[in-house]
C-alpha cells in the first residue's frame, strides 16, 4: 500500500514536471531569441539557447525610448487608473447590493445579473462608444469600454460582503453614529482585503494585457499601449510580407520595422512585469479563482 503511494508520487511528479516544462518552453524560446544576435536568428532560426549572445535588441529598445517608453507609460497609466477606479466602483456597487434593505434592491441585483446573460455584441457597443461618446483616439477608449467593471466581479464582491461582514457590526457602528461612507471606507473595505486583492489582480492583468480596445478604437500612434504596439508591429510585418510577394518590393519600408530580435525583446518587456509580480500574488489569485469560479 505504501509502495502504491510512492509510485503515485513519482508518476505525478514526472507528469506534472513535463506539463510545466511545456508551459514554460515557449517563454524560453522568446527570451532566447531576444538575447541572440540578429544574424544568428536569420541564419539559424529561433533556438532555446542563444547561438550568438547579443544585447543589441535591448539596445534597440533604449534607442527607441520615445516610442516604446511612451507605449509603456500608457500601459502603466491605464492599468493603474483603470484598476483603481474599477475596484472602487465594483466594491461600492457590490456593497450596495449586499444591503438587502435598500429600496429597489431586487431590481438592481437583476440589472447587474442580466449583463452576464445577454449583451449587445461588438457592433452596437462600437457604435455607442464611437457615435454617442466619441471615445475614438482618446485615452478613454483604453479605460472604459468593456474593461472598467463587470457584473461578475460585482456579484463576487457582493457575496463576499454578505458572507464575511456580520450585520450586527454594521448596526453597532451605525448606533455609534458612523455614517454610511465612514462604515464603508473604514470598516467594510479593510475587512475585505482578500476579495479586493483578487478582483484587483484580475482587473490589473486585464488592463495590462488589453489590445482589443486599442485595435478597435485607437489609430493614433501616440496612444499605443505596449500590447497594441506589439500587435501593430506583427500586423505590419504580415502586411509587408503579403505586399512584397504581390509587388516584389517592400524592402524600403521594412527598414523602419524592428528586426526579429527587437520584436521579441519588446514582447519580453511586455510580459516581464506580470511574470515578476504574479508569484507574489499567487496565493490570493488561486484562492480567488477557486472561490469565485465554483461558488459564483
Amino acid at each position: 500500500m505504501n509502495q502504491d503511494k510512492g509510485i503515485w508520487q513519482w508518476v505525478s511528479h514526472i507528469i506534472l514536471a513535463v506539463f510545466c516544462i511545456l508551459c514554460i518552453i515557449p517563454f524560453v524560446l522568446l527570451v532566447s531569441a531576444s538575447l541572440s544576435s540578429e544574424d544568428s536568428i536569420l541564419q539559424n532560426g529561433y533556438a532555446f539557447l542563444p547561438k550568438v549572445f547579443s544585447l543589441d535588441a535591448y539596445e534597440y529598445l533604449t534607442g527607441n525610448m520615445s516610442v516604446i517608453g511612451r507605449a509603456y507609460g500608457i500601459t502603466v497609466i491605464v492599468t493603474a487608473i483603470g484598476t483603481a477606479v474599477s475596484l472602487l466602483m465594483t466594491a461600492m456597487l457590490g456593497y450596495g447590493l449586499s444591503r438587502k434593505e435598500i429600496p429597489g434592491y431586487k431590481l438592481y441585483t437583476f440589472l447587474v445579473f442580466f449583463t452576464l446573460l445577454f449583451n449587445g455584441g461588438l457592433v452596437p457597443t462600437y457604435l455607442v462608444y464611437t457615435q454617442m461618446f466619441d471615445v475614438k483616439n482618446t485615452l478613454w477608449a483604453l479605460l472604459i469600454p468593456g474593461l472598467l467593471m463587470n457584473g461578475f466581479n460585482v456579484l463576487l464582491a457582493r457575496s463576499f460582503f454578505i458572507n464575511t461582514i456580520p450585520g450586527p457590526v454594521l448596526e453597532s457602528a451605525k448606533i455609534d453614529g458612523a455614517g454610511e461612507y465612514r462604515i464603508f471606507f473604514q470598516m467594510v473595505l479593510p475587512l475585505s482585503l482578500p476579495i479586493m486583492a483578487t478582483i484587483g489582480l484580475f482587473t490589473g492583468i486585464m488592463y495590462w494585457n488589453d489590445w482589443n480596445n486599442g485595435l478597435i478604437y485607437i489609430t493614433d500612434q501616440k496612444l499605443y499601449s505596449i500590447q497594441i504596439l506589439l500587435n501593430q508591429i506583427m500586423q505590419n510585418i504580415e502586411a509587408l510580407k503579403t505586399a512584397s510577394s504581390a509587388y516584389g518590393d517592400a524592402s524600403a519600408n521594412a527598414a523602419e520595422l524592428p528586426g526579429e530580435t527587437a520584436r521579441m525583446a519588446i514582447a519580453v518587456i511586455g510580459v516581464l512585469p506580470i511574470m515578476i509580480a504574479y508569484p507574489f500574488f499567487q496565493r490570493f489569485f488561486v484562492k480567488g479563482i477557486a472561490g469565485g469560479a465554483v461558488k459564483g
Partner: protein, 305 residues
C-alpha cells in the same frame, strides 16, 4: 408617505455609492442591447443610427445566403466543443495528479508555472506561436523538421493544420486556470472517505475512481453545462491573433466573433456584421437559459438563477 421618503433618505448614501457602477452598466451593457435593432436597419451614417431606414430581414438573408454563415457556425461549435471535452479531461487529470503531490512547495510551484500562460495576452501568445511556426526562422521549420528529415511547412498558409494548433494553444493557455478550479473542489473533499477506503485496502487508483471523481462530478457537470451555454462565443484573441488574421486560413479559423469584427472594422459591412452579432447574441442567450435549466435539474445549488 413621509415615512417611506425619510426611509429612502437614510439609504441615499448607499444609493449614491451604487450610482457610478449602475451608470457604467447602463452605458456599457444596456445601451448596446438597444442597439441590436441595427441588425434590422440599413445603416446610413448621414441619417444617424436611429433614423436610418428599416430593412427587415435583408441583412440576415444576405448573411445566411453566403457560405460564411455555415463556416463560422461550424467552426465556432466544433472548436468550442473540442475545447470543452479536451480541456475537461486534461484539467481534471492534472488536478488529480496535483492533489497526489504531498510536497506543498512543489505543488505550489507546479500551480504557479501552469498558470503563467493564462496570465499573458493573446498578442504575446501569437509571438510565442510565431517563434515555433514562423516560416523562415521558426523553431519547427528551421530546426526540428530538418532534423527529422522533413520539408519546412508554410504554417500560416495551410488551413488544415490550424484545428490542431488552435486546440493545442487553447489547452496550453487555459489548463492552469481550469485545473485550479478542480483542485479546489478536490481539496474540499472530506479526508475521512479516503481514510476509510485505505483501511478497506482500496488502491489509490480505486480511490480516485470511486471517491474523487464521483464527488467532484457536480462541479464538472456544472462547469461543462455553463461552457455549453457559452458555446456560441469564442475567444476572439485566440482566433484573431494566433493565426495572425491570415486570410488563407479563414476556412478553419473564422468564428462568429472574428467574422463580426472583420465585417465591422475591415470590410465596413455593418449590415452583415450586425446580423451575425444579433444571431450570436440571441442564440447565445437561448443557450444560456437552456443550460441553466439543465443545471437546475441536475443540482439546484449550482444554477445561476
Amino acid at each position: 408617505m413621509k415615512k417611506t421618503l425619510s426611509r429612502n433618505k437614510a439609504y441615499l448614501p448607499i444609493l449614491v455609492m451604487m450610482l457610478p457602477g449602475m451608470v457604467y452598466l447602463l452605458i456599457n451593457n444596456y445601451l448596446p442591447m438597444a442597439g441590436l435593432v441595427i441588425a434590422f436597419k440599413n445603416i446610413d451614417y448621414s441619417k444617424g443610427i436611429w433614423a436610418s431606414d428599416w430593412n427587415g430581414f435583408t441583412n440576415f438573408k444576405f448573411l445566411f445566403q453566403t457560405n460564411d454563415a455555415y463556416v463560422i457556425t461550424r467552426n465556432t461549435l466544433l472548436y468550442n466543443g473540442a475545447f470543452i471535452v479536451i480541456g475537461l479531461i486534461c484539467a481534471v487529470g492534472v488536478a488529480i495528479l496535483l492533489n497526489e503531490v504531498r510536497n506543498r512547495f512543489m505543488s505550489r510551484l507546479y500551480q504557479t508555472v501552469m498558470l503563467l500562460p493564462f496570465l499573458i495576452s493573446m498578442v504575446i501568445v501569437s509571438y510565442l506561436v510565431f517563434g515555433f511556426l514562423g516560416e523562415d526562422q521558426g523553431y519547427l521549420n528551421h530546426t526540428l523538421l530538418p532534423k527529422l528529415g522533413l520539408e519546412p511547412i508554410s504554417w500560416y498558409m495551410e488551413p488544415k493544420y490550424w484545428p490542431y494548433i488552435l486546440v493545442l494553444v487553447n489547452l496550453w493557455k487555459s489548463i492552469g486556470f481550469n485545473c485550479v478550479i478542480y483542485l479546489a473542489s478536490i481539496i474540499g473533499i472530506d479526508q475521512e472517505y479516503y481514510e476509510a477506503a485505505t483501511l478497506d485496502g482500496a488502491s489509490r487508483w480505486q480511490q480516485i475512481r470511486k471517491i474523487t471523481l464521483p464527488l467532484i462530478s457536480p462541479v464538472i457537470i456544472t462547469l461543462t453545462l455553463l461552457a455549453i451555454g457559452r458555446i456560441f462565443y469564442s475567444d476572439f484573441g485566440l482566433f484573431y491573433q494566433v493565426p495572425m488574421n491570415s486570410g488563407m486560413l479563414y476556412d478553419t479559423t473564422n468564428v462568429i466573433d472574428t467574422y463580426v469584427f472583420r465585417g465591422l472594422l475591415q470590410n465596413n459591412d455593418i449590415g452583415m456584421s450586425s446580423a451575425a452579432g444579433f444571431y450570436q447574441s440571441v442564440v447565445g442567450f437561448v443557450l444560456v437559459i437552456l443550460t441553466n435549466y439543465a443545471v437546475r435539474k441536475f443540482s439546484k445549488d449550482n444554477a445561476l438563477f
